[in-house]
Subunit: 207 residues, 2 copies
DNA sequence: CGAAGCTCTGAATCGTGGTTCACTTCTTCA
DNA sequence: TGAAGAAGTGAACCACGATTCAGAGCTTCG
C-alpha cells in the first residue's frame, strides 16, 4: 500500500477547491455570470482548466456551489435580522427589507446575478432555493404576526413571495446605477411599501 | 426592367414573415424559450431555415419581434383596464392586477417565458420594455391617485415596479401547477396585497 | 530508491445550434 | 418565351466554450 493521501495533502486539495469556488464567486461578483467561463475562473484561481474538472463534475455544479455559498451568506443576514425577538411583525419585516436592500445595493453585480441574471439550469435551481429562502423567512414573520393577532389570517406564503418579488424588481433597475443619495430614498420607499402591504388586523378589508 | 415585386408578391412575402413570427410565438407558448430553436420554428412555419434568415437578421431579432408582439397584446389589456375612468386609483389597480393574474394563469408557459425564463440578450431587452410598460401603467394610476389626493405623494415609479415584481414572483411558482380552485384564491390574495400596499393618504405613515 | 497512486496540466476534442450560400424555384414583364 | 431579379431551400459550415485525457509532477511508504 505505497500511497494514501495524508491529512496534509487533503487539506491542500480542499484549499484548491476553495480557491476555485472563491474565484468563481469573484468573477460573478465582478462581471456577472455572463463573464464567468471555466477558462477565466481557472486562470483567476491560478489552476489549469482540467483541475476545475477534477473538483467539479461540470461548470453547472461549480457555479451552483458558488451560488449556494453566496446565497447562504446573504440569506443568513436577512434571516438573522428578521428573527430578532421582542419586536412585532411590522418591525421585523422592515428590518429584513432594509437589510435586503442595503446588501443588494452594496454589491449590485452579485445581487443582479443572484436575483435576475440568466444562468444555467443547474444554477437556476440554486437561485430558486435562495428565493424560497427569502420567501420562507418573510413567511415565518407573517405567520408569527397572524398568531399574535397583529396580522389577520392570510396566505402568508404568497404574500411573502410577493414581498420578495417586489424588492427584486424595484431594485433591479437601480442596481445598475444608483448614487448614494437616491439609495437611501429608495430604501425608505421600499420599507414603507412592504410595511403597508402587510394585512394588518385592525384594518378594514377592502374587496 | 424585367422584374419588380408586385403587391401580390409582397403580400405573400409578408404572410410568410407573419407565419414565422407566429410559429416562434407558438413554440415559446408551448414549450418555452428553451425549446425554441431556429430549425424547430422553421419546421413549424413550414419553411426552410434559410427563409427565416431571409426575413430576420438573426435568431435574436426574430424572437425579439415575437416577444414584442406577445408583450404588446398582454400589455394592452392591462393598460386598457387600468385606464378606465370614473374609478379611483385603488379600483384601477385592483382591476389591472386581476387582469394581469388571469392572463398569466391562463397561459402559464408564455407568461413564464415573458416574465422570468432565461433568454438571449436581444430578447431580454424586449422583456425589459414589457416590464417597464407594466410599471408605467401602474405608475400612471398612482400619479393620478396622488393628484386626486387619494394617495399621498411618493416615488410612484418605484412603487409601481414593486407591484409588478410582486405579481411576477408570486405567480412564477403557481404558473407551473395551479388548479382552478387555488387560482381564484391566489388572485384574491394578490389583489388585496396590491390594494393595501398603496400609500393611501388617510393612513398614518409608520416609519 | 522506486513503485503506486494521486493531483495537475493545457492543448486538443467535441457537441450544439446559429448562420451561410450556391442553387432551385417562382414571379414579372418586354 | 426568356431574361432578370427575387424568394425559398437545406446541407454544410463555423464559432464558441465546455469537456476530455495522456502525460508530467508530487506525495507516500515498503
Amino acid at each position: 500500500m505505497p500511497y494514501r493521501p495524508t491529512e496534509r495533502t487533503e487539506a491542500r486539495r480542499a484549499a484548491t477547491r476553495e480557491r476555485i469556488v472563491a474565484a468563481a464567486l469573484e468573477q460573478v461578483a465582478g462581471g456577472g455570470y455572463a463573464s464567468a467561463g471555466v477558462q477565466t475562473v481557472a486562470a483567476r484561481a491560478g489552476v489549469a482548466v482540467g483541475t476545475v474538472y477534477r473538483h467539479f463534475p461540470s461548470k453547472g455544479d461549480l457555479f451552483a456551489e458558488a451560488f449556494r455559498r453566496a446565497s447562504q451568506r446573504e440569506l443568513d443576514v436577512v434571516v438573522q435580522v428578521s428573527q430578532a425577538d421582542g419586536r412585532d411583525a411590522r418591525e421585523r419585516v422592515a428590518a429584513a427589507v432594509e437589510a435586503f436592500c442595503r446588501r443588494a445595493l452594496a454589491g449590485p453585480v452579485l445581487a443582479y446575478a443572484l436575483i435576475a441574471e440568466p444562468v444555467d439550469p443547474a444554477v437556476e435551481s440554486a437561485r430558486l432555493r435562495l428565493r424560497a429562502g427569502y420567501r420562507d423567512a418573510f413567511a415565518r414573520v407573517l405567520d408569527d404576526g397572524v398568531r399574535d393577532g397583529e396580522l389577520r389570517p392570510h396566505d402568508t406564503r404568497t404574500v411573502a413571495a410577493a414581498l420578495v418579488g417586489a424588492l427584486g424588481e424595484a431594485l433591479v433597475g437601480p442596481l445598475s446605477a444608483a448614487n448614494g443619495n437616491s439609495k437611501e430614498a429608495l430604501i425608505v420607499t421600499l420599507v414603507q411599501f412592504c410595511e403597508e402591504a402587510l394585512p394588518r388586523a385592525h384594518e378594514r378589508v377592502h374587496a
